[in-house]
Symmetry: C2
Subunit: 106 residues, 2 copies
């Protein structure tokens, strides 16, 4: 797991959702790919995807319901899950959660 | 005002303060300087500085009490203020605030 991303661009303005309970920063890579580094405060959230997303939880405690699965995935500490393109997923966040989301164009 | 910072490094792990009500991401520049891109949720905060800080409010509504001044500086939308090294300053944040903090070594 990279401790930092080098030779990237960072968009100055934040992405703000749910009255600021979910916020992120966009990181642009030289190869044209994109990640967001975000924070989710405790709460229940419903998100939609455009592209496929790989969500790496860097720190936090939460559960996620991924499309096509009937059981919630629980994460306490760190973990990773994928969400398909054009899908919705639900999150219940129990503690401040630090994440890194990679967008995968297929 | 730069819309994005290019050829920088970004630390993956977030900086988290006040139970996540204030969070930021560290951006490292090739010249050795450092900025943080942060979010403050509504609340009252007291911060201390190590180096001199130039705080650029990108979006938000808040007031700040800078050391050595008796009146609060009110910012609604965008604005900038400086805080000396080794000082404390107080903030009252009224709406989700997006900021860019530059650390100035003197």
């Amino acid at each position: 797991m990279a401790e930092q991303f080098d030779q990237v661009s960072v968009v100055k303005k934040a992405n703000v959702y749910f009255d600021g309970k979910v916020t992120s920063r966009t990181v642009l890579f030289a190869d044209g790919t994109r990640k967001t580094l975000g924070i989710m405060l405790p709460g229940e959230y419903d998100f939609g995807t455009d592209s496929k997303e790989i969500m790496e939880i860097v720190a936090g405690r939460l559960k996620v319901l991924i499309p096509g699965r009937s059981d919630w995935l629980e994460i306490d500490g760190s973990g990773t899950f994928e969400v398909p393109a054009h899908a919705r997923f639900q999150l219940v966040v129990y503690s401040v959660t630090d994440y890194c989301c990679s967008y995968v164009e297929e």
